[in-house]
């Protein structure tokens, strides 16, 4: 087997001395579509921050493709939570997507033909080309999320990490995003997605990371997505109704 795309090795992360991710270890093979699942406050987003390098672990380390994450920044593409930015910001959808090319252009480099082509292709693949001149605040939630995804596609990379890309988006956008993520996986990229909706977990992801401060399980979806592991992840707050096939539902 080739080198793991992501290795999280004994990572502990805390805020104000309070650990929110405690001694978590797992690794993810390349070219898979991985869901990170757990209840609110389970440390999912914090773990993501450690992977993308915006939060330093108290203990342990994150390796990307077998090397320290800091050395592999260029291989990683991050799609932050939609709520993390000010959507009234004076910027058009097209300009946001162009930001994805910063690593290629640098401070003063020309925005060349390659860059333009990457941006154009990215916008086409999530169908936002028509929206490129619109100020981002004038877009719907789903369209905004597509803009974020297009920026990531324009950036490229080997590992894509998305923080709750399906939060507050319409069904059409959700399925469009899933199609794009699958296409990325099929072309050999590794895609890690923080996800909330247990109904769609088995449909979307090859592998799962079940997290609730500690690692509950990590492995192929059909092996780790079962009643026991979900009870461990969500505590007593979850009831699973397994209907035909792989349809599962969580209720509080």
């Amino acid at each position: 087997m080739s080198e793991a795309a992501v290795t999280v090795d004994g990572v502990t992360l805390s805020y104000d001395g309070e650990p929110v991710v405690d001694d978590v270890t797992f690794s993810l093979p390349a070219a898979t579509l991985v869901g990170v699942v757990g209840p609110n406050g389970a440390g999912k987003s914090t773990l993501i921050k450690a992977m993308v390098g915006t939060k330093k672990p108290d203990r342990g380390q994150v390796l990307l493709f077998g090397r320290p994450a800091d050395n592999e920044r260029g291989a990683l593409t991050y799609v932050p939570q939609r709520g993390a930015v000010d959507w009234d910001f004076p910027i058009t959808a097209g300009e946001v997507v162009r930001q994805g090319r910063f690593q290629s252009t640098g401070l003063l480099g020309r925005f060349g033909a390659d860059d333009r082509k990457a941006v154009q292709k990215a916008m086409e693949s999530v169908e936002i080309t028509d929206l490129r001149h619109r100020q981002i605040g004038a877009l719907s939630g789903g369209q905004q999320q597509r803009v974020f995804l297009a920026r990531a596609l324009a950036q490229g990379g080997e590992l894509f990490i998305l923080d709750e890309p399906f939060a507050g988006v319409d069904a059409a956008t959700e399925s469009a995003i899933v199609d794009v993520l699958r296409a990325l996986r099929d072309s050999g990229k590794t895609v890690v997605v923080v996800h909330h909706d247990l109904m769609t977990v088995t449909d979307y992801f090859d592998r799962l990371v079940l997290l609730n401060r500690n690692l509950i399980a990590c492995g192929p979806t059909n092996e780790v997505f079962n009643e026991d592991s979900l009870r461990d992840t969500y505590g007593g707050r979850v009831a699973i109704v397994t209907k035909s096939g792989d349809d599962a539902r969580a209720e509080k």
């Binding site: 390098g53 915006t54 930015v85 000010d86 930001q99 690593q103 003063l108 100020q135």
Partner: protein
């Protein structure tokens, strides 16, 4: 007659009858442009009031430099302003990162403590023999007419360097201002960039205080960018509008201040900038109050049922 006096003064102003008028005008325009540029990033980042704190924080530096050197040397005074203003901005930045003090409280603390120290030093200077003639009070509200040719050209050089530096770092600055998490994940050193932005702010404030004063310099950092936001939905255009309107406000301020003896340049500039702001607030294409209500009415009219066809 009174009207004649103003017409005469306006004529003096526009014909640059006195050299100092040209330098006052130039310095005021420069202040408007530089503050408009730096201010856009501050306003969009939600840091508007850090500009206010930095402005007030320059006062103890100006007064302290006078106390130490004993003379009214502009370079010494502005160096003092840079040190204490930069310290003020940095203190806000450091405080805000901690868990116990929220940014608004940090700004309030820094602003009032530094300004208080400055006022105490000014009072002390007033009591000195040399202090009464120093005229340091003009740093409170600004007096562009007191700017010498040498100071003016110094401001031009520093202002040009500042604008060039921001132009070079425009892309990462814009990225960080819009989406810090993404910028960090990309490997951009946002900490260094933010310190750079605060340094740029300090420099902008320091070269502005002679013309606009420490109390109102924040207005020139905040009002023109806020005006620009009503005029365009693109960052580059917001910056451009902000610089243009900042410069115009500076020019108008210098003019008003010359026309009405006793009106300091700072308040006059702020009034001019506010005039532009009100117009943009009402009629700006990006969310102007009147613009929006007209659009809403049109939209309702176009979907209204029962129209004769």
């Amino acid at each position: 007659m009174l009207a004649n006096l103003y017409i005469e003064r306006a004529r003096e102003f526009f014909y640059f009858q006195y050299d100092f008028v040209a330098y006052a005008l130039g310095a005021s325009v420069l202040v408007g442009i530089v503050c408009g540029l730096v201010g856009t990033f501050l306003v969009l980042r939600g840091f508007s009031l850090i500009g206010d704190a930095t402005g007030h924080a320059t006062l103890p530096g100006v007064a302290g430099a006078f106390v130490i050197t004993g003379v009214q040397h502009p370079v010494a005074l502005l160096a003092g302003a840079l040190v204490s203003g930069g310290l003020g901005a940095l203190t806000v930045g450091v405080f805000s990162r901690g868990p116990r003090v929220r940014p608004d409280a940090a700004i309030g603390i820094v602003l009032s403590v530094f300004f208080g120290v400055g006022i105490v030093l000014l009072a002390y200077i007033q009591g000195l023999e040399t202090g009464r003639q120093a005229g340091l009070e003009q740093f409170l509200f600004g007096n562009a007419a007191a700017i010498t040719p040498g100071q003016f050209w110094g401001l031009v050089v520093v202002g040009a360097i500042l604008c060039a530096a921001i132009a070079v770092f425009y892309r990462p600055l814009a990225l960080m201002t819009f989406d810090e998490a993404y910028a960090k994940a990309m490997g951009i050193n946002t900490m260094a960039l933010e310190i750079g932005l605060l340094a740029a702010l300090s420099v902008a404030v320091v070269i502005s205080i002679q013309a606009v004063g420490v109390i109102l310099v924040a207005a020139m950092l905040i009002i023109p960018p806020s005006t620009g936001r009503f005029l365009s939905g693109r960052l580059s255009m917001v910056i451009l509008w902000s610089m243009v309107l900042g410069g115009l406000s500076g020019a108008l301020g210098a003019f008003i201040s010359y026309l009405f003896a006793g009106v300091a340049t700072g308040p006059a500039m702020v009034l001019a900038a506010t005039g532009f702001f009100v117009v943009a607030l009402l009629f700006g294409p990006q969310g102007g109050v009147v613009t929006q209500s007209i659009r809403r009415r049109r939209r309702q009219a176009s979907v209204a049922p029962g129209g004769a066809s």
